[in-house]
């Protein structure tokens, strides 16, 4: 810690009276970073879930066809 902040954590938090502005800015930065990371992560998870559901339905259809060969061409 530099000389200013060496004395106490309170000094560090207060930022010489400008704590509100400084910490608000850094909090907003963290928020923007998290928004960008999480929005991609959530979209990825949703995509994967939808994809796996679809694959399972395809596979299910395949099994049903195997069990009931008499049905012929499965309906869409």
């Amino acid at each position: 810690m530099p000389a200013d902040f060496a004395r106490s954590l309170a000094d560090f938090v207060a930022m010489g009276g400008h704590g509100l502005y400084v910490w608000l800015s850094y909090a907003a930065a963290l928020g923007v970073v998290l928004y960008n990371v999480l929005s991609v992560r959530l979209r990825e998870r949703r995509y994967l879930r939808e994809h796996l559901d679809r694959e399972r339905r395809h596979a299910g259809a395949g099994v049903r066809d195997a069990v009931h060969p008499a049905r012929g061409v499965p309906e869409p």
């Binding site: 502005y21 850094y26 907003a28 923007v32 991609v40 990825e44 995509y47 994967l48 796996l52």
Partner: protein, 249 residues
């Protein structure tokens, strides 16, 4: 690989998907290391300013976000030209994938500017040429977002966005030179290509680290969003099903 081959390969989203996974990881990790270093350095170890005291530390958020917001827009302008002239699919995806990132960074630059303006100038907001042109940048990002939502046909939406992106590039030099062309409350640039920075190294080094970090973050985020765009546009194709067979993206 020659440049021409690379150009043609860029036209193939499948190829881009295959090579980009590791690129994203490397960029993401680099961004994490740089941003943590630069931020801790800037907030706790860099000296305060002789006039502004500790509110000066907002610079370590404000300048990198403003820089990357403008660079992202320039990238969209370039992608717009490529889309309009060469009709490259990847260019349309870049155009779509950059908007949320650029919009959030512009908003961050404006917000931190206000939080810095209040203790320094004495006002949260002043309608000078720099702040106003930055606000126009935010509106351009919003317009690009809305335009894509408003046009149902993806191809038409892509071209409309490309035209707006190209036209909007004119705002970037206006933002940059606003402080030189007009009388503004915002001060002129501290960093110039032709002169030493008006700031000692213990102040600008953390800023440089954060700026590099935010560019790496932009790269990682852009690649991540591009991969999603590719997956969504190529949903159900043989290569996507094969690729995702293991249950992972």
């Amino acid at each position: 690989m020659t440049l021409k081959e690379l150009w043609h390969r860029l036209g193939s989203p499948r190829w881009f998907y295959q090579i980009s996974g590791r690129l994203r990881l490397v960029l993401g990790l680099t961004a994490l290391v740089l941003l943590v270093t630069g931020t801790v350095w800037g907030i706790a170890f860099a000296p305060p300013d002789y006039q502004q005291g500790n509110s000066f530390r907002i610079i370590y958020v404000h300048v990198p976000s403003a820089l990357v917001a403008q660079s992202a827009y320039l990238l969209m302008g370039a992608a717009g030209v490529v889309l309009l002239v060469w009709r490259m699919k990847l260019a349309d995806m870049v155009l779509a994938a950059t908007v949320p990132f650029g919009m959030s960074m512009t908003a961050l630059a404006l917000f931190t500017g206000a939080a810095w303006g209040k203790p320094t100038w004495g006002a949260w907001w002043v309608w000078d040429a720099r702040t106003t042109s930055m606000l126009v940048l935010l509106f351009l990002y919003m317009a690009l977002y809305a335009l894509r939502q408003a046009i149902p046909r993806p191809e038409t939406a892509g071209r409309a966005c490309a035209v707006l992106a190209v036209v909007g590039v004119i705002n970037i030099p206006i933002i940059k030179y606003s402080v030189d062309w007009w009388l503004t409350l915002h001060q002129p640039a501290t960093f110039r290509l032709t002169a030493a920075p008006a700031m000692p190294p213990e102040m600008w080094l953390p800023l440089l680290v954060n700026a590099l970090g935010v560019y790496c973050f932009f790269g990682a985020n852009l690649v991540g969003r591009l991969r999603l765009e590719i997956l969504e546009r190529e949903r159900g194709t043989a290569w996507v099903r094969e690729r995702l067979a293991g249950g992972q993206l």
